[in-house]
Amino acid sequence: DTAVSQTPKYLVTQMGNDKSIKCEQNLGHDTMYWYKQDSKKFLKIMFSYNNKELIINETVPNRFSPKSPDKAHLNLHINSLELGDSAVYFCASSQDNYEQYFGPGTRLTVT
């Protein structure tokens, strides 16, 4: 059973398009996260939700909007995609202060 899953795993799209990445966890965790890994492999937090409530919103452009329909799902919607949005996006989840479990990542390529 996959603990944290993301769809799609690969996403190629053109500049200006709108796209969504979906994340689901079956671990019963209360907190979910989105991280971005850039071309130099640097990982940085974007957003975090705890029980459907936004608790972390780092300095991310307004074109990025997370949505959490329930505590097992955290989706990432991106409007007006730009070349600089090309990256690997990781979803993760955790319970209380325990370690975070990561999804397989979504490689987004904007052309």
Partner: protein
């Protein structure tokens, strides 16, 4: 704000040998968690080992162990009996022990690429 530094962009080790990856961090907090994550070419982020700052004993997981020096703010990872499957990017990460808000996020270092040679 906390920062995590990995000063070795790349390391190489021969199969069956031992290698140590370095990590230093900066924080004003007295209690926190430190992690090492492994990212193989499949890009999956895999937790290798975890250390609670209040514990003096260094964490170990099979061939993986840490050298945690709280006063020096150092957290190195030792891999013994290296195997080809250990080849990957290794990331050191910091997390506050406080709950809620930005405290729950992981702050990552820039990573160390480990090559394992025959």
């Amino acid at each position: 704000a906390q920062t995590v530094t990995q000063s070795q962009p790349e390391m190489s080790v021969q199969e069956a040998e031992t290698v140590t990856l370095s990590c230093t961090y900066d924080t004003s907090e007295s209690d926190y968690y430190l992690f090492w994550y492994k990212q193989p070419p499949s890009r999956q982020m895999i937790l290798v080992i975890r250390q609670e700052a209040y514990k003096q004993q260094n964490a170990t997981e099979n061939r993986f162990s840490v050298n945690f020096q709280k006063a020096a703010k150092s957290f190195s990872l030792k891999i013994s009996d290296s195997q080809l499957g250990d080849a990957a990017m290794y990331f050191c990460a910091y997390r506050s022990v406080r709950s809620g808000g930005t405290a729950s996020k992981l702050t990552f270092g820039t990573g160390t690429r480990l090559q394992v040679t025959l």
